[in-house]
Every structure is written in C-alpha cells, then in structure tokens.
C-alpha cells in the first residue's frame, strides 16, 4: 500500500488549521486556548475542548451554511483546509471520493430533533433537524459544497472509526476508481455526552489530561475534525509522505505488528480501560509520543494523530510528547524534539475493549 498524503486540514480545541496545530505542538509557545466549561447539567460544570468554526465564513457564504449544523461545519471546514493546504481547493473535484469517520455522529442535532418532538409533538418533528441528524450528513455537505461526485461513505466504529474508514479510502485509491479522496474524522461534544461521561467516569474531573498515567482516568472530552487529501502514488514526493499500511484487529486474537524502530504516536487519551492496552502492547524499545492533551478525548482522535504524524514526516522531526501528559509510564517517551531520521511512524489506537488500529506513515 502506498497512498500519498497531499494536504491536511484540522479544527479542534487547539485552534484551526495545520499552522495552529503545529504551534500547539511546541510547549511554551501556544497553550490550547479552547479548554472551556460548557455544559451545566445538574449544576455541574464539565470541561471540554471545543471547536470554533468561524473561519468557515472565509470559504463558504452564509446562505450556503444556513442549514448546515455544527457537526457538519467542522467537517466541511477541515476538508476545505485540507484541499487548500494541498493547493487543490480551486481544482475540479468531480472524481474525488469523500470518506468520513465518526464515533457518534451529529449528536447535538440528534437530540435537537428529539427536542422538537418532545416540545411540539410528533406531528411537529423538524424535517431539517432529522435530515441533518443522519450520520452521513457531514459527508453529504462536503460533497455538495466541493462538488465531489465520487463515492461517498461514512463509517461509525467508535474509537476504531478512523482506521476502519481509512481502509475504504485506500481501497478506492488502489483500485484507481477516483483521482483523490477527501478523508477525515469528525465528532462533536454535546451535553448528553457530558452527562454520560459524568456517570461513567465520575465527577472528579482533572484539570489536565494525563494520558500516560494509564492507571488513572483523566480524559477530557474533545470535539473537532481532521481531514486529509489523499491521492494514489503518482511518482512525485507528496507533501506529507505516504500511508503504507492500515492494521485493524483485536488483542484477544493477535497483537498489533509494530515495525522495529518506528516512532509510535499513541492514541491514549486518559481512559484507563484502554490505557492498560498501551501499557501492555507498546514495545519499550520503540520511541513513543502522545499528543491527545492538545485535542482531547475524542473517538476520531487517530485522525489528529495522523495529522501530527504527517507534520512530522514533512519536517523530518519528532515533536516532543505533550507537556504534562504524565510520567512513570515505563515507556520510551519522546521528551524533547528530535530528528525523525527517515523512520516510519505508527499511529496506534486501542479501544477500551481491546480493538486496535495501527496506521503506518512513511516519508519515502
């Protein structure tokens, strides 16, 4: 497998665009600003990394966005930024596919639709909210706004959504069905999610995520979108390297096959149920980094890790693991920025139940 990564577009708690993500990777330069306290259910405040989509107004007129909800706006913004980054925004996208991963879909709109039924009765259910609540609404809006007529698919596999959806993107590119794939992940925060977190993980929310303290629960919810423009390998050197492999499996049946000497970007995000798998299956001889404190705990976290891996490939360096990610993990954690030295990068994600996804990125 050799899929070229031509552009990246991101929007999340750290800001908007590859430049802001890059700046957030340097401790001391930029601290994520969007750690906000949003929900207040049952008089309890809940921290979350929220995403501001106001930059979308630079690209799409207000009228076209009138019926596009926050979930889809995040996805549209990130996909436009990915095309802009690749210098392809003004090109013809007719033979482009759109592949979107989402753990939970448009949750705010889903519950807003229920509000319309509960408040006004079954006969007054909102058709606009219903049509925007379907999981593939974001992918549809991307296709409509970017005029992408190729295949359009949305995958929802909780924390495994990104590696799973990436299989479809790679397949279409390998079989040469399309010229490019606008691929990415999107998930949003909503108050019901915040309430569910309180009930499942307790009310004692930490101020900081400590994802390397695997035995502790320290996850802070995030939202956002990370998208990529992927193309077949056309012989030129792409801006961000190549996706060389996508592994999906379950630890009860087989462990992830990790390339010797590769850098691992761990998708640990402060959930202790998945933390035990990172502790067990990350080889101590491989260097590892972790960046989830920049974007929060979010099912499509591997898309952000893939974006950071792409930046690392482009710049030929490994960014230091997020400051304050935790200590005493027993792993070989990247404490200071250093040269990548042509190593491959593996973005490794475990779910709480032991599923894993491993996306391998190479420079050459």
């Amino acid at each position: 497998m050799r899929i070229a990564v031509q552009g990246i577009g991101v929007a999340g708690g750290f800001g908007c665009g590859a430049d802001q993500l890059r700046r957030a990777l340097f401790p001391g330069e930029i601290t994520p600003q969007n750690i906000l306290f949003e929900a207040e259910s049952n008089n309890h405040k809940f921290p979350a990394y929220l995403c501001d989509t106001s930059r979308l107004a630079e690209f799409v007129n207000k009228r076209a966005l009138q019926r596009v909800d926050h979930f889809s706006r995040m996805a549209v913004l990130a996909s436009i930024l990915a095309l802009e980054d690749a210098g392809m925004l003004q090109e013809d996208h007719q033979n482009f596919a759109v592949v979107v991963a989402s753990g939970y879909g448009a949750t705010r709109t889903t519950f807003s639709f229920l509000d319309s039924v509960i408040d006004d009765g079954d006969a007054c259910a909102s058709p606009m909210l219903f049509s925007n609540s379907v999981h593939n609404a974001a992918a549809a809006h991307i296709s409509i706004l970017l005029k992408a007529n190729g295949p359009n698919v949305t995958v929802s596999q909780f924390e495994m959504s990104v590696p799973s959806a990436l299989l479809a993107a790679c397949q279409w590119l390998q079989e040469k069905d399309v010229d490019g794939v606008i691929f990415g992940g999107v998930d949003e925060y909503c108050n019901v999610l915040g309430y569910s977190w309180q009930r499942f993980f307790g009310r004692d929310h930490k101020a900081d995520m400590k994802p390397l303290e695997f035995e502790n629960q320290s996850a802070i919810a995030g939202e956002g979108a990370a998208f990529f423009l992927l193309t077949p390998d056309n012989g030129d050197k792409p801006k961000y390297g190549f996706i060389a492999d996508v592994q999906i499996g379950h630890v009860e049946i087989s462990a992830p096959k990790i390339t010797e000497n590769s850098l691992l970007i761990l998708g640990a995000d402060g959930h202790k149920l998945s933390g035990i798998h990172y502790a067990r299956y990350t080889p101590p001889e491989n260097q590892a980094a972790i960046y989830s404190p920049l974007y929060g705990s979010i099912p499509i976290g591997p898309a952000f890790d893939l974006a950071i891996a792409a930046l690392s490939i482009r710049e030929g360096r490994i960014f230091a693991a997020s400051r304050g990610a935790g200590e005493n993990s027993g792993l070989n954690i990247v404490a200071k920025e250093q040269a990548l030295n042509a190593r491959s990068i593996g973005c490794l994600k475990f779910s709480c139940s032991g599923e894993f996804g491993l996306i391998k990125l190479v420079g050459e």
Binding site: N152, F158, V192
Partner: protein
C-alpha cells in the same frame, strides 16, 4: 477501468417482515407477500397512522448470555449472520485463525437517540445509563465480530439507505485486496419512533401500503430487518469445496453532490454508479445478459422518477422490480435484503411482481413487472439510493453451482 476479479457469495441469511429466513421471505414474495400494519412496539400522536412492515417475532438469539441485552438491530444482524454462515457451512470453529472481516450497514443501529433516556434526562437530569450502555454494546459489526471471533477489519457503514449495498461492495474489496479470506457483509435496522417521526416529517411516507412506480404513489412505508452475505476468496471456498451461490462481479458508488435529501433530477450519481459497476463486471457494452434489476423503488415521487429515467436510458428493456412493497423500506438493511433477494431470484430464474404497482405513471418512461416473470441471463443488478445523494450498485452473476 479494469474489471474486478469475482468474489464468491457462499451463504445468505435474511429476515424481515416477509419472513424470518431467506426461504420464508422468497416464499412470501412469490405468494403475494404481506401487508403493513400500524406499528406495535411504539405509538405516535400523529392524526394519521402510517403503516409499517414490522417483524413480530423477536429473534431469540443472544439468549441470557452477554448479548441478550443488545439493541434489536444487533439481534437482527446476528440472526441473519447465523443463517448466512450456516448456509455457507461455516462456524466459529472453522473461522478460528482465519482472516475474517465484518462489514455492516445500518442507520438506527449506530445512533444514540433513545427517547426514553432523553425524556428522563430532560425531566430528572439523572437518567439511568442502561440505554447508553446498551447502545455502546450494540454496534452491529462489532457484535457479529465478537460472536464469531472475527479478527479482521470491522466496519459499520452509516450511509443512510445505501448502507447495506455499500457494505457488501466494500466487504468484497477486502477479499479482492487479499485482506480477508472471509467477510460477513450486509445490513441491519430496526423500526423506531425517531425514524418513524422523521420520515413522516419529510412528507415522504404513505398512509397506505406503498406503491412504487404507480401513478398514485405517495411515499414509502418503513420496515425493518437484516440480511447478510458470506463473501469468500476463491482460494478459501475452493479449498473447502464449497459451491458459491453467486459471484459478486461489480460494485459502483457515486454521489449526486446535489441535495441532502433529494436525488439529482438528472440521476447523475446513479448513472455514474451503474457505469462503474457495469465496467467492473465487464457488462457495460451489452445489457443482453442482465436478467433483471432489483431497484431501490421506495414509492416516493422523486426516487421513482429518477430511477425510471436512468433505467430507460442505460438499461433499456431489462425487466425490473421493487421489493419495497413486500418489506417496506428497511433503511440501512435495504441494500443487503435486496441483494439477498436478487441472488435468490437469479437462482430461481424468476422475479415476483413488483408489489404495489398497478397503474403506470405516464411521466415514467420505464415501469416494473406487474406479475411473476421468468428471466433469462446470468447477471442481476441491485441498486440503492440514499440521503446525502449516495447511489450504490452491485452486480451479481450466477454461482458455479
């Protein structure tokens, strides 16, 4: 565009309002089918009662084990998977250590929208978490993978009404690329008040039994169910001397990029999906060998108009039918259920009448069959259109048997 190597279909499982297994469904289709009724599992304060095609017997699968407390969609998926694997003479023991993938389409099966939970959340602020726990345990692809110890890729496709067709097409690509020996691919969905109210709000639901392609059509009836196909690599089915029931020859998918809920009037996405699928199956130059088309045919004004125009243009004269009049629109399961019916009809060499179609619409250039019809040819097409402007087409050929 290169042709695709064929992928074998070695087993099929299906349940819906027409029957609790594929044989029951096909017997029902060829004997007039069933009629929709008011929903029995939920009520609504709509002044009009919109009938649905409901499965009245809840599958017993799961028993008292860990999978007993899962959503109905997941139970439907497991039931169909069990039938399909049995039909393919496969089980967990045989599949152990093999590269087995699971690719399932759904809509309600992956949506966190439990109304009772949300009502309680709004009123008390502290509802119990059972509904959320059940939702998290009910991802249809994961449930099947756990049941059969499948260690390969696991994917739930949420492409609205084309999910089942897309899941089959994507699952087949895993076989072709060498990623899997076996893939369980299909779709599953249950009826629920949310989709019931949602479709009524869009004003595309008929208060009578649906009438796809009829001049008097007023919309769809919702339904529920699941269907699974067992897809196998040539090396795998040959090694165990299993005769394929059909070969999946082509898959095409394309987006209208036109409107969130309405198909493009010129059918651009559907044309492109058909063109891709027929090119992959190497049948783009002649329709002579295409026995029939199982169309999406929901009974809505727009869907049927677009399909009729495109079929008249690209697949002129090929007999076609809609089976929604036997099953209702089963959303994420529809493409898989219709793929199962397509293969069974190809095996039988006949298709049933397109239920609900009586009076041709002068606006439609092509109309479906009105009675049971013998068909010739070794290929058959099943197609789905969806919210978001998605179009997905699969082409099956007769199996080696």
């Amino acid at each position: 565009m290169k042709t695709n190597p064929a992928v074998a279909v070695t087993g099929i499982g299906c349940l819906c309002a027409a029957g609790l297994n594929l044989k029951e469904c096909m017997d029902s289709l060829f004997s007039g089918g069933c009629t929709p009724h008011p929903p029995s599992r939920f009520s609504s304060d709509h002044p009009t009662v919109y009938p649905v095609f409901e499965i009245y017997k809840t599958p017993s699968i799961g028993g008292t084990g860990p999978q007993s407390d899962i959503m109905l969609t997941a139970k439907f998926a497991l039931t169909a998977a069990e039938e399909a694997l049995g039909n393919a003479k496969l089980n967990r023991k045989i599949l152990a250590g093999k590269r087995v993938g699971v690719c399932i389409g759904t809509t309600t099966g992956s949506t966190m929208n439990n109304e009772d939970f949300y009502l309680d959340y709004r009123s008390s602020g502290r509802p119990p978490m059972d509904a959320i726990t059940r939702f998290l345990k009910s991802n249809p692809a994961r449930v099947i993978a756990e049941q059969y110890g499948a260690a390969g890729p696991c994917q739930t496709v949420v492409n609205a009404c084309s999910s089942g067709t897309d899941a089959i097409g994507l699952g087949a690509s895993w076989i072709r690329s060498g990623l899997c020996d076996v893939v369980i691919a299909g779709g599953a969905d249950e009826l629920c008040r949310v989709s019931y109210n949602g479709f009524i709000s869009l004003m595309i639901t008929d208060a009578s039994p649906c009438r796809p392609f009829d001049v008097g059509r007023k919309g769809l009836n919702l339904g529920e169910g699941a269907a699974m196909l067992v897809l196998e690599s040539k090396a795998f089915w040959r090694k165990r001397n299993q005769v394929p029931r059909a070969m999946l020859l082509g898959y095409g998918s394309a987006c209208d990029a036109y409107h969130l809920i309405a198909p493009a009037p010129d059918g651009r996405g559907l044309k492109q999906a058909i063109a891709t699928a027929t090119a992959r199956a190497a049948c783009q130059k002649s329709v002579d060998n295409i026995a029939f088309i199982n169309v999406h045919g929901t009974g809505t004004r727009d869907n049927d108009r677009v399909e009729s125009q495109v079929l008249n243009e690209l697949l002129t004269g090929v007999p076609f039918l809609s089976t929604k009049g036997y099953t209702g629109h089963t959303l994420g399961a529809a493409g898989a259920i219709e793929a199962a019916f397509t293969i069974a009809c190809l095996e039988a060499g006949k298709i049933p009448a397109s239920a609900g179609f009586e009076t041709p619409d002068p606006e439609l250039p092509a109309t479906p069959v009105q009675q049971e019809t013998s068909v010739n040819g070794t290929l058959a097409i099943s197609q789905s259109l969806a919210f978001g402007g998605n179009n997905a087409v699969v082409i099956f050929g007769k199996g080696d048997g």
